[in-house]
Symmetry: C2
Subunit: 248 residues, 2 copies
């Protein structure tokens, strides 16, 4: 397979959840943000923002929400924000109708923009020898995050990214077989035999990896996660609507 | 500012919309998909799929939906799919309640996963000297895309990515000043003076760029795009719900 420095990074990604006690310097943070900003945005509307959480008390609150203590003590914590508020500001300034910014289409666009830019931050960090983990767990209490970060209407916290100097090198976690996720021209229904084989692969990975071993297949994992969810995650749709997204 | 090969790519990204008449070989496509698969996914639920559109008649239909003829004739066309269908299959196989997969939380997760993986494809492509453009324009007719690709419940087309050998080198399009999109600890309201300065930057860019020059500020662009939208894009929220997303 073709390779180069960037491809090597992308095809060897692992999430890092243990960091050395070393902050990122200003130049490094600036570089990560430049990579985020250069990312494509839907219709060039640049509908995302980033908040760096640096205040120790705020970091403590994110550690509680995410249940990850490393968001508190190490590296740098970015929160990616879906943001149509800036565009609504521009519309209101000009006394224009901003209704379109609230519809399903422009809501998805803001979430896309934030996610695309976030992935650029992860890749940029890894290229500098840093490690990163995407923290969907900030949505364990989306309303609290909105309140803590003073997020106005038409903004929403998409995920956090903890970046820092890695203090672990986890094994590469096997992905679904490519034929389960890539199709030509038409969607293909999932296939029991392929999932059976992948269950064995994942079970072997969890049994043999260097730390936090357990006996679990992919199906176990998926079924567990569709049965239980942190309580406040069930409120996300109503919070989205309260923030002015997905109105029509 | 720190730099390396990957950072150079990320900070010099431009969307490529004109490609040489040369297809991607199988190894290249495989490499791009491997990069996509290795990307982080929310709770390791791998809730995305990718469809390669290779059938000439189907490509013709995407050229019409997106209004971009280059989706038809050059490079390779990926469609990124938000996919909870595979996980619902696993749940139904085990006679489990799959209701959680339909909620706002897991809907956003599927869109996040597809976008993150899509950005890895773009970066991987650029590292190989290829060019790419993200095609949100497939949502000009989301229902037709669903029908064309035979997308079942709990799947949705997020965006397309056209990848190919670049036949243009557009100027770098200036982004919003970093202070407009990056904040510390709390969201900051947009600032008229900063937008004024950026309007001038964008006006100068559009006036002086190598092709397709026009007289337009950022505010003009944003206001135009919040007034008019292809007709069927207003149906996206109802199509999302019809596909089983954002049910609660």
């Amino acid at each position: 397979m073709t390779t180069n420095e960037t491809l090597h990074l992308l095809t060897h990604h692992r999430s890092i959840r243990r960091f050395k006690n070393q902050s990122l310097d200003r130049d490094t943070i600036q570089t990560l943000l430049t990579a985020a900003q250069r990312t494509s945005s839907s219709m060039f509307m640049q509908q995302f923002s980033v908040i760096s959480v640096t205040d120790p008390q705020l970091k403590q609150q994110f550690a509680e929400i995410t249940t990850y203590p490393f968001t508190q003590s190490n590296g740098h914590l970015f929160i990616m924000i879906a943001d149509q508020h800036r565009n609504e500001f521009i519309g209101e300034e000009a006394h224009e109708n901003t209704k379109l910014l609230h519809d399903g289409d422009r809501s998805l666009a803001a979430f896309d923009d934030a996610a695309l830019a976030g992935q650029s931050i992860v890749t940029a960090a890894e290229s500098m020898g840093l490690g990163a983990v995407i923290l969907g767990s900030i949505l364990n209490d989306a309303q609290q995050v909105i309140d803590l970060l003073h997020l106005p209407k038409l903004t929403f916290p998409v995920f956090g990214i903890a970046v820092g100097y890695p203090d672990e090198k986890p094994n590469l976690k096997p992905r679904l077989p490519l034929e389960s996720v890539h199709f030509e021209n038409h969607y293909q229904e999932p296939d029991k035999q392929t999932l059976d084989a992948y269950d064995q692969t994942i079970q072997s990975y969890y049994t043999h990896r260097d730390s936090n071993t357990r006996n679990e297949t992919f199906r176990h994992h998926i079924i567990h996660d569709m049965q239980v969810s942190p309580k406040k995650r069930s409120e996300i749709l109503s919070i989205l609507k309260n923030q002015g997204f997905f109105e029509n």
